[in-house]
Amino acid sequence: AENEPSWETPCTELLVYVSTPGCDGFPSLDSKESYKLSVSKGSMLLSAETIWGALRGLETFSQLVGRDENGTYYINETEIVDFPRFPHRGLLLDTSRHYLPLRAILETLDVMAYNKFNVFHWHIVDDPSFPYESSTFPELSRQGAFNAMTHVYTASDVRAVIEYARLRGIRVIAEFDTPGHTLSWGPGAPGLLTPCYMGKAPSGVYGPINPIVNSTYQFVASLFQEVSTVFPDFFLHLGGDEVDFTCWKSNPEIRAFMIEMGLGEDYKKLESFYIQRLLDIVSSLGKGCIVWQEVFDNDVKLRPDTIIHVWKENNMQYLNEMANVTRAGYRALLSAPWYLNRISYGQDWIEAYKVEPLHFEGSPEQKALVIGGEACMWGEYVDVTNLTPRLWPRGGAVAERLWSNETVRNVEDAYARLAEFRCTLLGRGVQAQPLYVGYCDHEFGGV
């Protein structure tokens, strides 16, 4: 055969050299993830500025090791210089629409690391259920979880996730979405949600958090005090999306408040009123804030270091939003074209891959404000029975778009590499689904 490999002396060690100390810290938005990998006769060296870069390099190294037909492990002489294009490369999991057992979260963190994702955006509570066991407000999960004994994340679970993630260079950013998306908070926190009215009388149904009572802000301050301590990352995601104003409008006390405060009929101003106070509370706790785009769209007064999360997808309108957000001087995260929960027939990973986050009109300074993006796996139709195949390898398309150079766009080449990577995932025990027809040497054994 042509190109007979010339076997050199077997390599016995990969030397890992990290220049900046710090094994016990947490990764952050500013962490340097660059590394250099050099494989040559007689030596294999991985050097990185930080341990986080070393992790990325180890993953790459593991992808370079091949096995021939005789079963011999080998590696080609290689020189790699690598660093991420964007510093924030995230994955959102939703543990409210369906509870995800701890194991499923930990396995997802493993696969995120294989893909060099570095942020786990934990959309931990929402309308349907409240699985987060709060030490300050234990009733929240006791009354709000699907099953308070089984479908909850204990403090120890949360610690496990955070540490498991840290060991893989993954930040955990918790999202406690308010004032909307909070129905499950109601049972455990009476008086928190707005009672909706049908005419003169309460209808028995509740709406978003009640923004006009002081008790709300006391509650929120206490809860976020706890959350700030539990989650070590500098950033918290505060949500702020899809606030339905109908309930507020129906409530006479709120209407009175609107008049009293001179807000007229503009309930966006009431939403702003709440969110501004929330942002102040969280800032005073020493945390940075990420919010969904509505908070920006609705003219809430934001601190300049707030990060705006762009999610609305309508015929590529998201690129306009990215332009607007960055023009106003805020940092932006992109998710709109990467809603992996929106499945469709065929190779939809290609659309995700072709996204170009910076394809909007703006100055280089503006574009520098785009710090990355997140693939989202909302949970309406997803639980542990279908999470992994639905997430991988499609999520890999987003991973490459966020890590690799802008010029890496060839779909045919990506297909070849991603299909191969999918087989690698299978070999690592990940139930990743196929991209198209074909086979892997090691097929999944079957559920």
Partner: protein
């Protein structure tokens, strides 16, 4: 190493990706659909009613408030007096053990309890007696299209009685009984007094699995047979080979899988095949294999030289091949021998011969084929050549006393079919019209067109499968009788063992109920309630 299929495959995949354009008011995750008044799962328990988790819904159900208790350590599934089946009926013995396990499997107290039964209001149900009424119960036979699946279930103290003409009905009844047994808040097993009279609306209720686009390990196939039994499906349409790979290990032609399978371990040996057939049989499921020709046969050419048509380009032979070559005698010699094997390996009365999507361009390019067309007087109508080929295959298969199923093109292209050929309607465009045509011509039909479950989309698409009414086509009463059922198809382009089970279930359950239950069972809210319970039970 994984085999990427290259640019051609890539483009094929690209072509079918629809653009996802959504409205401005897209909520996080949820599509802007109709207001869903579905009860959230966690509110169901309070007003739970025994029928709340029956799936598919039996034809006639009456339940009473009086509940009976079952003690796992004492309750038994037994043969009743007067049954034509007894302990030597392996099929029922196996079913008894299986259903006991489904009902009480997760219960810890299955051995004799130390404490006597505390005084309870509910009387105890000691047994379910199964009585098979026909002289020949069918224990050692294979199910077929005309098997009786009807059953009558009476649940009352002290014993419940399940009567069925044949064992197939008993299997259906056992499944239903297991769906009636529920646990109360204290973990006690209860069942309401009830009476059920049930039979399927359609006799052919199938699932198509494709093991060529991706190999499916045995375990995956067997798990899905279990799931099919939970849903009273009774046909596994095994689309076993196709263009991409030939995993079927043939005894007469071992080269077919040696050269045509994805790799040497990704095959189905004769033992594997026997296992699937028997596993299915024990669940009352027929296995209809499909060996699709003359198109969809690329993988056959790897192990069988001179089977496929060599394609020409400007009079010169190319390296590529097209459909099976219909003009050579050797083709029919091969098929005669091959189908002899298939006829003996697969016990079902029917074999599916495919016949879909034949691309004529290769035939048109081949000089021998063109010559043959002239000699036969087919002109330039290659559909006639296709029919010529198909008719020969039909004759071959008939000679082995097997019935044939074909895809609709075979009928559409006017091949001369045997009177009992079953035509499978799969093209989505105006399938009602096709059903009319097929049945008007006097052929039996099986419907798949609206039930291509490989076509995934965001949201609760089970509803659209559930809402299909198969008999909604123009035709007489006699015509409508010719629609014998349908099949949910899970083509394998994007499916393998990693995602098959969650993709197929519970969406296929919607099809299961449409094919079993009465035509007036159409309420989506009630279906949602029962289906979510059924899904949890399947877990």
């Amino acid at each position: 190493m994984g085999r990427a299929m290259g640019l051609a495959g890539l483009l094929l995949g690209l072509v079918v990706v629809p653009a996802v354009l959504v409205s401005t008011s897209l909520r996080h995750g949820a599509p802007p659909t109709e207001a869903e008044p579905e009860p959230s799962g966690w509110e169901l328990a309070a007003d739970a009613v025994p029928e709340d988790s029956l799936w598919p819904l039996p034809q006639w159900v009456r339940t009473y408030p009086r509940q009976l208790q079952l003690a796992p350590s004492r309750f038994q599934l037994v043969h009743g007096a007067g049954s034509s089946a007894g302990p030597s009926c392996g099929l029922l013995q196996d079913a008894f053990r299986r259903y006991y396990e489904y009902m009480f499997g997760h219960s810890r107290r299955r051995t004799w309890g130390r404490r006597p039964l505390a005084a309870r209001a509910e009387p105890e149900l000691l047994q379910l007696q199964v009585v098979i009424e026909a002289g020949d119960p069918g224990c050692d036979r294979h199910p077929h299209l005309t098997s009786s699946e009807a059953y009558h279930l009476t649940v009352t103290e002290p014993v419940a009685i399940l009567r069925a003409s044949e064992v197939w009905g008993a299997l259906r009844g056992l499944e239903t009984f297991s769906q009636l047994v529920h646990e109360d808040d204290y973990g006690s097993f209860l069942v309401n007094e009830s009476e059920i009279n049930d039979f399927p609306r359609f006799a052919h209720r199938g699932v198509l699995l494709d093991t060529s686009r991706h190999y499916l390990p045995l375990k995956s196939i067997l798990t899905n047979l279990d799931a099919m039994a939970f849903n009273k499906f009774n046909v596994l349409h095994w689309h076993i080979v196709d263009d991409q790979s030939f995993p079927y290990q043939s005894i007469y032609f071992p080269e077919l899988s040696d050269k045509g399978a994805y790799s040497s371990n990704l095959i189905y040996t004769p033992t594997d095949v026997r296992l699937v057939i028997e596993y299915a049989r024990l669940r009352g499921i027929r296995v209809i294999p499909e060996f699709d020709t003359p198109g969809h046969t690329q993988s056959w050419g790897k192990g069988q030289k001179d089977l496929l048509t060599p394609c020409y380009n400007r009079g010169q032979p190319t390296e590529s091949f097209g459909p099976v070559n219909p003009v050579w005698n050797t083709t029919y010699d091969f098929m005669t021998k091959f189908f002899k094997e298939i006829s003996s390996v697969f016990p079902d009365e029917f074999i599916h011969l495919g016949g879909d999507e034949v691309d004529f361009s290769c035939w048109k390019s081949n000089p021998e084929v063109k010559e043959f067309m002239k000699k036969q007087g087919f002109g330039i109508d290659y559909a006639k050549l296709e029919s010529y080929y198909v008719q020969n295959i039909l004759d071959i298969v008939s000679s082995y006393n097997k019935g044939q199923m074909v895809w609709q093109e075979v009928f559409d292209h006017k091949a001369q079919l045997k009177p009992d050929t079953v035509v499978q309607v799969w093209m989505a465009n105006n399938y009602a019209g096709e059903l009319s045509r097929v049945t008007r011509a006097g052929f039996t039909a099986v419907l798949s067109a609206p039930w291509y479950l490989d076509y995934i989309s965001y949201g609760q698409d089970w509803k659209k499968y559930y809402s299909v009414e198969p008999l909604n086509f123009p035709g007489s009463e006699e015509q409508k009788k010719l629609l014998i059922g349908g099949e949910a198809c899970l083509w394998g382009e994007f499916v393998d063992a990693t995602n098959l089970t969650p993709r197929l279930w519970p969406r296929a359950s919607a099809v299961a109920e449409r094919l079993w239950s009465s035509s007036n069972v159409t309420n989506l809210q009630d279906a949602y309630k029962r289906l979510t319970n059924h899904r949890c039970r399947m877990l």
